[in-house]
């Protein structure tokens, strides 16, 4: 890390001597930096910090599910030492699963994939000096901080943090009851008072940050590619980021509007989501409304379905690049892979209603969404087959990043196939809102995306920090996580088939679920093993930052442009502006001494190589 700081300041001084920039202050270099690499690393550290919070929240509520009604050790004494004992109250449980999902989605996965990897890698991989709008880039990071502060404050306000699920459905989330004392309270549950308002504000800030980032990425990729870097010579990581940015740009405004509408319902008395008949909560009734709750679901899912593709397409791109590097083989079917990403994204815009099959929406509308949803399995299947094709006939090295990328491929198959069950509307009648859905979600988000993040961090750590992560610890982390995570999330499919509903504080109240309780305990134990294993990964990162083995420019002997820059690159990234001669996947070209051929390298005499990736 120290060497990294030295490198950075040397490079910046070097640039200053050439009269490009005046000397920057510490704040301008490292805090309010407009360098995409620093911003990417800022997103990385913030995201990983929030991973600890999001994961911790989950482990907390797994205690209740594994050992219902048990006294919570240590924390129970601080929080609930009262007549009910040190047992978790249901409202607290509801807050925990709500905040777990909210933190993971809005503060971990999206910032890590798009903010950290997108920022760091896009300019480097396309041969640009920086993003198109460096100041906007800096703002997109710093807009996360109000979001973070607001969401953290929400844990401590009257009524606690939001507790209506990350989906925040009206009317449990949206109705507020003006109380005499002036504080905002909800009749449906404590967390839907000020906590829900802060949640809405926080997510609005996240949305603004993401929209800034997406505009930047699209412009940079279209306009700032190096000489010779045509669209079809870009690595899959960049394609993934590009299409993800388009998804963000088109879907986020709808969510932002929906968040404002709910905010207005809660604070200034609008009734976008309140039905004309009004509602009665216990002794209190709302007035008449002028809207309907289903409107929120449409607006919310119009964003949140593309959001799930935002949360996987960058990882798919990175995994493609990592598989190719460690199989020493070209990517199988470059153009079909690009088309598949575009297909997933395009179809992803017309399937949002599959979250609403049982909602009371007209069933015929459901049929339309069902057909589109089932077809979206097709591009995902094509990608999987192409990954297998990439590995076939290769020379596979089982490095840490390769292992994590391999896990992505196999576990994505599970997640993708389980999705077909819920796409089928009649089957969805039974499995909607059961643990089958929870299993699917976590197979695509943890078992796929998170392994993709582990792979990406390990793979690009040398480029980011000039040091290697420890392979041995990386492998131990991988094995424990892989086994423990499968033990945590796979049995959830079985719970779901048995009919176990989601978001249930008390899993033992129903006769028809009694025999499944042992599975809940097994899941909780596995979750704790999995959770603690992540300390190995974070410890590895932290240790390697300071004392990791020094990295060369191209430790993985890879082809893409970022590996021609120093590790870490200085301001301006490249020693000389790159000129790209071919696609990124020319590995094991026949008649060559080496098994890789960087995009900028001249081809030796007598060797023929296609000019474009197929």
């Amino acid at each position: 890390m120290g060497q990294w700081v030295v490198n950075m300041s040397e490079n910046l001084t070097h640039a200053a001597e050439h009269g490009h920039h005046e000397e920057l202050s510490f704040l301008q270099k490292y805090v309010f930096s407009r360098d995409h690499k620093i911003i990417g690393i800022q997103f990385l550290f913030t995201g990983l910090l929030m991973l600890l919070l999001g994961g911790g929240l989950a482990l907390f509520f797994r205690i209740q599910l594994g050992w219902p009604g048990a006294e919570i050790p240590i924390i129970g004494k601080w929080l609930w030492d009262g007549p009910a004992g040190r047992v978790m109250p249901p409202d607290f449980y509801n807050m925990l699963f709500t905040m777990h999902a909210s933190v993971m989605i809005f503060f971990v996965i999206i910032p890590l994939l798009t903010g950290a990897f997108g920022n760091f890698l896009i300019p480097l991989m396309i041969g640009a000096k920086d993003m198109a709008f460096p100041t906007l880039n800096m703002l997109s990071y710093w807009f996360m901080w109000p979001a973070l502060i607001v969401i953290l404050i929400s844990f401590f306000v009257d009524g606690g943090a939001a507790a209506s699920g990350w989906t925040a459905y009206p009317t449990i989330a949206s109705v507020t009851m003006p109380s005499g004392s002036g504080s905002l309270r909800a009749p449906s549950q404590p967390g839907s008072g000020i906590g829900q308002v802060l949640w809405l504000l926080s997510v609005i800030f996240v949305g603004v940050s993401s929209m800034m980032g997406s505009v930047n990425y699209i412009t940079t990729i279209i306009n700032m590619r190096a000489v010779g870097m045509t669209m079809f010579r870009m690595p899959m990581t960049v394609w993934g980021m590009f299409i993800t940015a388009i998804l963000q740009a088109f879907a986020l405004p709808v969510l932002t509007v929906a968040l404002f509408l709910q905010l207005f319902d809660k604070t200034i008395g609008t009734t976008f989501f309140l039905p004309p008949s009004g509602l009665s909560f216990g002794n209190w009734t709302t007035g008449p409304g002028g809207g309907q709750p289903l409107l929120w679901q449409h607006l919310f899912w119009f964003y949140s379905h593309p959001a799930v593709y935002i949360m996987i397409l960058p990882a798919m791109g990175m995994v493609s690049d990592i598989l190719v590097t460690f199989a020493r083989k070209p990517l199988f079917g470059y153009k079909p892979m690009v088309l598949a990403i575009a297909g997933i994204a395009g179809l992803g815009f017309i399937v949002w209603g599959h979250h609403m099959f049982q909602s009371g929406m007209d069933p015929r509308l459901g049929t339309g969404f069902m057909v589109a949803t089932i077809m979206i399995a097709l591009p995902s299947a094509v990608k999987t087959f192409n990954w297998l094709g990439t590995l076939w006939g290769g020379n596979i090295t089982f490095s840490t990043s390769m292992l994590n990328a391999l896990a992505f491929v196999s576990m994505f198959v599970v997640g993708g196939l389980s999705g077909i069950f819920m796409a089928a509307t009649p089957v969805d009648v039974f499995i909607h809102d059961t643990y089958y859905i929870v299993a699917h979600i976590h197979y695509v988000l943890f078992m796929s995306t998170m392994f993709g993040i582990f792979a990406g961090v390990t793979h690009w750590f040398p480029k980011m920090f000039g040091r290697m992560m420890n392979e041995r610890v990386g492998k131990i982390h991988f094995v424990i996580t892989f086994i423990a995570a499968n033990c945590t999330f796979y049995p959830m499919h079985i719970l779901g088939v048995g009919g176990t509903p989601r978001r249930y504080f008390e899993p033992t109240a129903f006769d028809y679920l009694q025999h499944l309780q042992g599975i809940n305990t097994f899941i909780s134990i596995s979750a704790f093993v999995m959770g603690f294993a992540q300390l190995l990964f974070l410890g590895n990162m932290f240790y390697s930052l300071f004392w990791g083995e020094k990295a060369t420019r191209n430790p993985w002997r890879a082809n893409t442009l970022e590996w021609t820059a120093p590790s870490p690159p200085g301001h301006g990234n490249f020693d000389v502006a790159p000129v790209v001669l071919r696609g990124p996947y020319e590995y094991s070209v026949p008649d060559m001494d080496t098994d890789y051929l960087p995009q900028t390298a001249e081809v030796p005499a007598g060797v023929s190589v296609p000019a474009h990736a197929h």
Partner: protein, 343 residues
């Protein structure tokens, strides 16, 4: 027993994990390498086996007991077969690749950018399969969610209104006299169906229990007073969200009965055996659950489903429930409150 199996599996998993980790982590090349293929392969095999063996442990779908549960379960099994076959196929290829292609000195990688013909085959075949799957299931969906409403089906069916509220199910049946009116004038039943079973002074009101009759359709007018709830009857394969401001029509027709009259109360958890005798069976305790998050006691919105063997049995219950409800003087002896407090 379950705990023992789970503990055994956990220990086996941990031992296996350690077996993989140490040699493979310490010796990145050579014999240790095959262990990665084993790790992935055994994980995938275990996952396949879990789905294959879960039914043997009773960790599976609660048996379906309605006229459309067969349609739903059939689709589930078709999808399970297709996805299962795909998963097995992909896992075999995947594991084979990991065994066959670890890095080898002197063996160059296959220099190939892909194979368009192969791409077309593995796009077209799943594409057609998926499309057929999509189109093929539409009739089942429409049958479940858009029942035909005509005089005939209305006259022969029962109707009930279920209102969800934090945190109970308020159930309202038309009285026996009202049902009599439907028998004499079938159009009245259809009118009530279209008018969402408007409340009458002699309605029978219950909390957290639903009654139906074997072989007869029950239409449910589903409403909510406050937040979104969702009515879930697992064995009937019924699930419908209750939306504030709307009355949504759901329906089911049970194929088996699960309750028996004992004196003046009805008990669930029984079924008729082959000889026609009632036998106890815990799988016949059918419940109502809420499956849309609705606050603190979302997981405690538990109700009971009583399916009567005959319409006469149901009407007998209905009359008793109505009578219990119309107590005008304080009871002189301990009596259950409104609604049949069945077990």
């Amino acid at each position: 027993m379950t705990y023992a199996i789970i503990a055994l599996l956990t220990v086996a998993t941990l031992i296996y994990g350690l077996y993989v980790v140490f040699p493979a982590a310490l010796k990145p090349s050579g014999k240790g390498v095959k262990r990665w293929a084993y790790l992935f392969g055994i994980t995938l095999i275990t996952e396949i086996l879990v789905f294959a063996l879960a039914p043997l442990f009773g960790w599976w779908l609660p048996p379906g007991r309605s006229t459309y549960s067969g349609d739903i379960d059939l689709l589930f099994y078709v999808i399970l077969a297709v996805t299962g076959a795909t998963f097995i196929g992909v896992s075999i290829v995947y594991t084979y690749v990991l065994f066959k292609y670890p890095s080898q000195e002197g063996r160059p990688s296959l220099y190939s950018h892909g194979n368009i013909k192969l791409e077309m085959v593995w796009t077209a075949i799943p594409g057609v399969l998926l499309f057929l799957l999509a189109i093929g299931q539409i009739p089942a969906w429409l049958k479940v969610k858009m029942p035909t409403l005509d005089e005939g089906s209305a006259a022969q069916a029962l109707q009930v209104e279920v209102v969800g509220r934090q945190w109970e199910w308020r159930v309202r049946y038309p009285s026996s006299e009202h049902l009599e009116r439907w028998r004499s004038d079938p159009r009245a039943a259809l009118t009530d169906l279209r008018r969402k079973l408007a409340p009458q002074p002699d309605d029978v009101r219950l909390v957290n229990e639903l009654h139906a009759v074997k072989g007869e359709r029950l239409f449910i007018h589903l409403r909510t007073m406050d937040v979104i709830h969702s009515l879930f009857l697992p064995q009937m394969r019924l699930k419908q969200d209750a939306l504030p401001g709307k009355t949504i029509l759901a329906w089911f027709e049970p194929t088996e009965a699960n309750c028996q009259r004992v004196g003046d109360t009805w008990h669930t958890g029984v079924r008729k055996d082959a000889k026609g005798n009632w036998v106890e069976d815990p799988l016949y305790k059918w419940e109502i659950a809420c499956t849309e998050f609705c606050g603190s006691r979302h997981s405690l919105m538990r109700g009971k489903l009583f399916v009567h063997e005959t319409r006469e049995d149901f009407e007998a219950w209905l009359k008793l429930a109505a009578a219990r409800q119309r107590v005008t003087a304080p009871p002189t002896e301990a009596k259950p409150g409104a609604g049949a407090a069945g077990q």
